[in-house]
Symmetry: C2
Subunit: 121 residues, 2 copies
């Protein structure tokens, strides 16, 4: 499978596939002409990469356990739990911050709507 086919099969841009390779996430054989040649497992692997990226993990973090999770259940890969836990803490911090900002915005919006009363057309 050439890179264009893998791109179409996964919906991931050629640019991103090459980037994943450089980040050590996705290996490819080379044909004699230099073209990348992917086996059919590559599709599943790219989908997996995209999934972990959608959890907000970095390519660096994913590289730390991808090889393991492609061959085993997650619970078998001891590297993954601390990554998940660290990410969960980050997410919680971010949610807290966003909620604080949200409250602040809501208060200020309410205040504006009250004070301007009927003045707004």
């Amino acid at each position: 499978m050439k890179i264009g086919e893998l791109s179409k099969a996964t919906g991931v841009s050629i640019r991103s596939l090459r980037y994943y390779e450089k980040q050590g996430l996705l290996a490819a054989d080379r044909q004699l002409n230099g073209y990348r040649e992917y086996n059919k497992m590559a599709i599943e692997q790219v989908v997996t990469i995209q999934f972990y990226l959608s959890l907000g993990l970095s390519t660096d973090q994913i590289a730390g356990f991808l090889h393991c999770v492609m061959k085993n259940k997650e619970s078998f890969c001891k590297e993954i739990l601390p990554v998940y836990q660290k990410k969960l803490e980050e997410i919680n911090s971010q949610i807290d911050l966003l909620n604080a900002i949200k409250s602040n915005l809501e208060e200020r919006i309410a205040s504006i709507l009250e004070e301007s009363g009927g003045m707004l057309q």
Copy 2:
């Protein structure tokens, strides 16, 4: 007041003060030698800029209403309400996304802890 004094008075770096000027947020007179000269209102203005930045607004957005809010109550500045409302929508989207990721992470963490059971030391 020179830029170093303003920086110390507000805790904002000199670099940032110059950046705010370039973004049209903070004006300064110039002494004959080219040094920036700030009046005492600048301190309040920088604090105000920092506050709006902490709400996640961009310098561009802040520039759209800062002049007004430095002289009036927020409710007087009609430019500010749509900015707040747009930002609130963004924040809500981000919170929703983070909550979805959080649920996903929590499920996967729970699953790992269950399945590995007593296997982890």
